[in-house]
Symmetry: C2
Subunit: 254 residues, 2 copies
């Protein structure tokens, strides 16, 4: 594929505890940053309940719309872990006990501890391939363009670190942040001009309050390093023309 093609992904966060506000999701930011380093751009995320219909519908909508889909949550041993069964239904295939997954669990747990609840974690949709779990043995899995990962952040992160190296993306989105003590309204008009003149970049404006003072972070993003440099320089010049000294400029980062 040409390097300039955007490889896209959706993230589906599965869990009543996120929708109730009990738990703050930490997996979307981790996935978004990790995937961007290999040139895969998260275009949309959905947070849905532990509900078979909701999972089937979100997985089928997203796998048709994006190159990759990453789900998090619902693959543990308890009755509310229904993601694997729901993904099997989304693909209209059987849920099967995977011999390789059983073997991984057998090596991890003492024989007396390998109960039915743990063996449930060896059930995957027919045709899925396993994703290595370096923390606690119970694997994730991939079926077609859908990657099914756990919700526990420490385990998800270890799995993601292991699989991103094997993913083929497009060009990663590079970014620069230029911050200043000013208001968004004060610079909105010249900033819009900079955006118009630098169409190969995308410029976002994010207000903040620090030590009681209003500030704005201007984030320039592009897959083109030269375009990024030019736009970042134009943002800095725009601020200085307005008599505002930029606070910091980040090094180029993913």
């Amino acid at each position: 594929m040409p390097a300039s093609r955007t490889v896209t992904a959706a993230v589906i966060v599965i869990g009543n505890e996120i929708l109730s506000g009990r738990t703050h999701d930490a997996n979307l930011p981790y996935l978004a940053r990790s995937l961007n380093t290999v040139g895969i751009r998260v275009m949309e995320a959905r947070v849905i309940a532990d509900d078979e219909g909701a999972i089937v519908s979100a997985v089928n909508a997203c796998r048709a719309a994006y190159d990759h889909v990453f789900t998090t949550g619902g693959i543990g041993p308890t009755h509310d872990d229904i993601t694997s069964a729901a993904v099997a239904r989304a693909f209209n295939v059987a849920l099967v006990r995977d011999p390789q997954a059983v073997s991984l669990l057998t090596h991890h747990y003492a024989a007396a501890d390998l109960n039915e609840a743990r063996l449930k974690m060896a059930e995957v949709p027919e045709g899925a391939s396993l994703i290595d779990n370096p923390v606690s043995a119970a694997p994730g899995f991939r079926i077609d363009n859908v990657w099914v990962l756990p919700g526990v952040p420490r385990i998800l992160q270890a799995m993601v670190d292991g699989l991103t190296a094997g993913l083929k993306g497009g060009d990663p989105v590079l970014s620069r942040t230029i911050s200043a003590f000013t208001t968004e309204s004060g610079i909105a008009s010249p900033l819009a001009d900079v955006q118009q003149q630098h169409g190969a970049t995308e410029i976002g404006s994010y207000p903040f309050v620090r030590s009681g003072r209003f500030g704005v972070s201007l984030v320039v993003r592009s897959t083109d390093a030269a375009a990024l440099d030019a736009a970042a320089a134009a943002v800095t010049a725009m601020l200085r023309d307005a008599g505002i000294e930029p606070l910091t400029e980040d090094a180029p980062a993913a």
Copy 2:
């Protein structure tokens, strides 16, 4: 409406900075908890880009599927703030400068500071009503069942605190959390039995690690206080039958 009807909502988080992983969203948890206190249950959340097509499509899908839709982000003064225009397009109405919103901004800013960028924050879809912003004057707005709120958490929270009192919901979901040092697998089977015997409640199991020890938080939820009490007692008894002493039991909370 009967008190037992579930009043539902979707949250749409609008912002490239959330999808890039740069910013962790704090608005979904706040909205979810606040809405639950007035008996409105968040069934789904979507995180989408600052993209007109994405906003139109998410708003129209969610307003048809849920009683209420709350959007956050994209109503500031800069070029990347396109939520108001996109919501107008979703409803197929004009974007108009609201005289009451202009008046609010006029009272907040000195005349010399009320530039075109700030006046952009007075633009709302035709037929919308304003939502009071006690922090920084620029209002949110409501059109039909869609509530359009800002992305800055401090301002969003102040607006939400002001509007929830006027919302009519069903019964709030009550919850109890019972935690213990054990593994999910160790209690999965008796826990599934408790869930089956207490169908008016929903029991979630969430593993944690504290001081290097594995634990599980069992969260019982229900709109029925008596059913909640009975299920929580059954969870506690189930743990004790397994020789596990519960760590803490929260007071009933929203």
